[in-house]
């Protein structure tokens, strides 16, 4: 574990940093932002414009402070935007 490279911070199974971190059983409701990001992802996926795998890779590429600091759907949004720009479906200027 100690030799695990930083670029794989998403590969969390067994990570000893969390051995004393409580898993809080609460499940707060998703916001409209969350659901809108989720819906956008599914629409894009069903149109064949993004794959889950591409999106995952972009999310894994986020630096640790973003990977662990942003909310789940903020990461999804950033991942999606990165895929669409990579594929040339939108440009970085479109989203700046």
């Amino acid at each position: 574990m100690e030799t695990q490279p930083a670029s794989t911070h998403h590969d969390l199974g067994g990570n000893p940093k969390y051995r004393c971190t409580a898993v809080e059983p609460e499940n707060p409701a998703l916001s409209d932002f969350d659901k809108r990001v989720d819906a956008l992802r599914v629409v894009l996926r069903e149109k064949g414009l993004i794959t889950t795998d591409e999106q995952r890779m972009k999310i894994e590429s986020l630096p640790p402070e973003e990977y662990f600091g942003l909310s789940y759907y903020e990461k999804w949004l950033k991942g999606m935007a990165a895929v669409l720009v990579s594929r040339g479906i939108v440009t970085w200027e479109d989203v700046s």
């Binding site: 969390l12 067994g14 819906a39 789940y72 479109d94």
Partner: protein, 200 residues
């Protein structure tokens, strides 16, 4: 607990992205709204009903274990375009716990949105290494002689647990049995338990 609000720049990013996609004729706001509405309908009720049926109908139970995707179709839930569903059978000697250590893969079509705790770094890190400690967070205790099998959703399948039917439910209707099951029971962090008895 309330979830942290998204940062303003991400709210802006979402709208710019949708704006660009609509301007280029790639999708419409109506499609997004329709998808949002359809997705909100998915819930653990579906998985719960499937398990309740399996508890009362041995032939369906066999079909569910053999092919979760086809069994879901019997409940009017299509997994078309979605990953296949696998169902994990608990026995007296074997208890399953589902996790996705690499991200947060979850059988959404039959269980709805993954719970916040399922997506947390703590769950993803600890479930594979200290499943008994994680279950203790829910007050769930599995005896030492019973194997805990932690199922890491690393690829194309999505997994749901078929828990053991609790004692004392003989003669119960499917609706009553369904009420015993939520996401916690179908992921394996909790065991279905009879509620504190209502006053007769």
């Amino acid at each position: 607990m309330a979830l942290r609000e998204p940062a303003p720049e991400h709210v802006a990013l979402l709208e710019k992205l949708i704006g660009a996609l609509t301007a280029r004729g790639i999708l419409t706001e109506a499609e997004i709204a329709a998808k949002k509405s359809a997705t909100e309908k998915a819930s653990p009720q579906t998985g719960a009903r499937m398990v309740a049926r399996a508890w009362t109908d041995p032939a369906f139970r066999a079909r569910l274990l053999a092919d979760g995707t086809a069994a879901a179709e019997e409940f009017g839930v299509s997994l078309a375009g979605n990953p296949p569903l696998g169902v994990l059978e608990d026995t007296a000697n074997l208890h399953h716990l589902v996790v996705c250590t690499l991200c947060s893969c979850y059988p959404r079509v039959v269980l709805g949105f993954p719970p916040h705790w399922y997506k947390s770094a703590a769950y993803r890190a600890r479930a594979v290494r200290d499943p008994r400690g994680v279950l203790a967070e829910w007050g769930t205790h599995i005896p030492a002689g019973t194997q805990i099998r932690v199922v890491d959703s690393t690829a194309d399948y999505r997994w749901m647990v078929l828990p053991m039917r609790p004692e004392g439910t003989e003669g119960w209707s499917e609706d009553q049995l369904t009420a015993l099951l939520g996401a916690e029971e179908l992921v394996g962090v909790a065991l279905p338990k009879l509620a504190l008895a209502k006053v007769a």
